[in-house]
Every structure is written in C-alpha cells, then in structure tokens.
C-alpha cells in the first residue's frame, strides 16, 4: 500500500493567515471594481440628470460633493461586504476571507469597524499595512483595531482535483482506467 502523495503547499495552507501578495491583489481588484462601479453610477446619474432636466452636466470626482459620495461608497462597498460575508469581490477572487482574530466568523459590527478604520492604514505612507509583511499573524493596523485577520479560504482540494483531472486528460497514459491500482493508505495521518 502506498501512502498518499504530498499535497502542494497551497492545499495545506487553507485556513492559514493570508500573505501580502494575495491581499494586495485582492485590494487592487476591489479598488478597480469599486471605482468602476462608482464611475458607472456617476455616468448613469449624469444621463438621468440630462434626460430629466435637459441640461448636460459633467460630474467628476474632482467635485467635492462627488468626492464625498465616492468616499461613502467605498465605505459601503467594503463595510457591507465584510459585514455580510467577510469577503469583498476581490477577496473572493483571490480566495481570502476576513475572520475574527480567533478564527471565528466575523461579526457584522467588526466588519463595519474594519471599514471605518481601514483608511488609518493609509496614513503615514501606508505604514499601517506594514503589519501584513512583518507581523507574525500578518495583521495590518485596521485588523488589530477591529480584532480581525485574513485567512486563505478557497476550495483548494477541489482545485487540486481539477489540476489532476486536467493532467490526466492531457496525459493519455495516466488517464487509462485501471492502468495502476488505486491504493488505500494504511496510515490515515499520511
């Protein structure tokens, strides 16, 4: 009986603290999506205003009112996502999730607090984000304040099976049924 082959690191790291690259990429996606949605909303508002009043306006984020609405929208985008499901769209894409510091599901109010204190991490040249790199639990300033942390939370086992299945399809020898016996490991901990 052969033992189970070693799973890659990204399979075994599920539930572990997420690192800087995943979180940064998730934030980039979120920033792009939230800004894109806001721009779409702004364009729609311009169109509606033009249709209703007959006057053409051109609202941009340089406008102070629009800037305030943009900031509120960002709070809503991040705050609602974290409070509702513990993850934003970008986090869902990268397979990370915000949880409580003890690993339990994030309370909605913590999600809101996290969104409110999130800008603090940008202060002083983004020093608040340094914690993601150097802190032992990869927690940024807003994580420490809100009592939260970010972990990997995607179905890595299913992804691995998909990888294996694709490999089996590409490799004709491996895909032949019965070409090698399926084994059962004697040691469950293997």
């Amino acid at each position: 009986m052969s033992g189970r082959r070693h799973a890659p690191d990204w399979v075994t790291s599920q539930g572990h603290y997420a690192g800087s690259v995943s979180r940064f990429l998730a934030f980039i996606i979120d920033a792009a999506v939230s800004a894109g949605l806001f721009s779409l909303g702004l364009a729609a508002a311009n169109l509606v205003w033009q249709v209703v009043t007959g006057h053409s306006v051109h609202w941009t984020r340089a406008n102070i009112a629009v800037a305030i609405i943009f900031v509120l929208w960002e709070f809503f985008y991040f705050g609602y996502s974290w409070a509702a499901s513990g993850r934003t769209f970008g986090m869902a894409v990268l397979g990370v999730r915000v949880v409580r510091a003890d690993g339990a599901a994030l309370d909605p109010w913590r999600g809101v607090v996290r969104a409110l204190v999130f800008p603090l991490s940008f202060l002083l040249f983004c020093l608040g984000f340094l914690g993601i790199l150097v802190q032992r639990e990869h927690r940024a300033l807003h994580d420490l304040i809100a009592g939260s942390c970010v972990v990997y939370a995607w179905d890595a086992r299913a992804a691995r099976l998909r990888f294996l299945a694709r490999d089996a399809e590409v490799s004709p020898n491996a895909s032949a049924p019965g070409s090698a016996p399926v084994t059962i490991s004697a040691d469950p901990s293997a």
């Binding site: 189970r4 800087s20 990429l25 990869h138 992804a159 998909r162 399809e169 399926v182 059962i184």
Partner: protein, 195 residues
Amino acid sequence: MADERSPGGPDWHGFPRYPPPWMILSLLASPILGAVDPRDRLRNAGKRFTDPAEALAQRVAERVIDLVVEVLDVNALMRRLDLNAVLARVDVNEVLGRVDVKTLLDQVDVNDLMSRLDLDALMARVDVNDLVQRLDIDGLVEQTDLGAVIARSSGGVAAEALDSARSQAVGMDQFIDRWVQRALRRNHPGPAAPG
C-alpha cells in the same frame, strides 16, 4: 588331637562333609523356588474378585457420565463461562500456527459464507470517514475516468484561471514570508492559523 579330615567334621572349605538333610533339601529346592512364586496362587484368587469389580465400576462411571450429560444444560454452562478470561489465556498465534489455512480455505464455501453475512450490520460498524481518509483520491482521479468527469463538470476557463491565480498568489505569499522571516532573523515563526 582330632583329625580335621575326620568323618562329620568340616572339610577344608568350612563346608560339612556330611550335611544335614534339611540343607540337602533346601539345596535341591532352591532352583524350583526361584522359578515359581508361591504367592501367585494368592494373587490369582484376588484377581478373580477385582476384574469383575473393575468392569462394574467402569459401567457405573459411564452410566453416571451419560446421566450427567443428559441433565447438564450446556447452553447455561456456556452462558456462565467467562469466554474473555478463557480467550485471554489462549495463545492465538500458536493456535493459528497449527492451522493449515490453505486447506481450511479450500473447504470454505465463500458464497455460502457471504450469503450468511449481515452486510448492513457489518457496514454499520465501518468508519467510512476513516476509510475515505485512507483512500488515495489523487490516484483515483488520475487512474480512472473520474478525472475526466471532474474536469468536464467543473473545469471551465474561469475556474482554471482562478485556480491558477490563487495557487500562484499563495506561492508568492510564502516566498515573500520566508524572506521576511529570514531578514528579521526570526527563529520561531508565528502561528500559521488563528485559534
């Protein structure tokens, strides 16, 4: 002075020249008495009584045993028997060592055995989760058509791209983390997961 070789006196070996009659008789009878045990007669007389008594005792014992066995409730006796204690004293390996397993298996009708098995009861005792844990899923996916089924059912372009992006990101996370730990000269990394 008397002559030492006079009639009636002892000869030069100390043996009387003219022995008395009882000595002559005993000398003549000693070979006969050596071959015949005078108590045999007595023994034969005893045997005439003991043999029938022995046979009678044997018959009585057999009858008694038959009666006891008829009266004995073997099932009740088995119930009172502490089989665990008995089995604890049995060296099973030694017993198995004496068994010719091949011959034993040749005599077993496996189909009949299987028909007698209560598979439901057997399966109820099986820890399926433990069994699945031991299963080589990777081998199953690679060596059977199951892999193709998974690939066709769940393997879209988007899923493939997501799997790839996520796994690459985790790899880079770990790479950067290793270098940061090294730069900070940390011998003991922090906890891997919350809780």
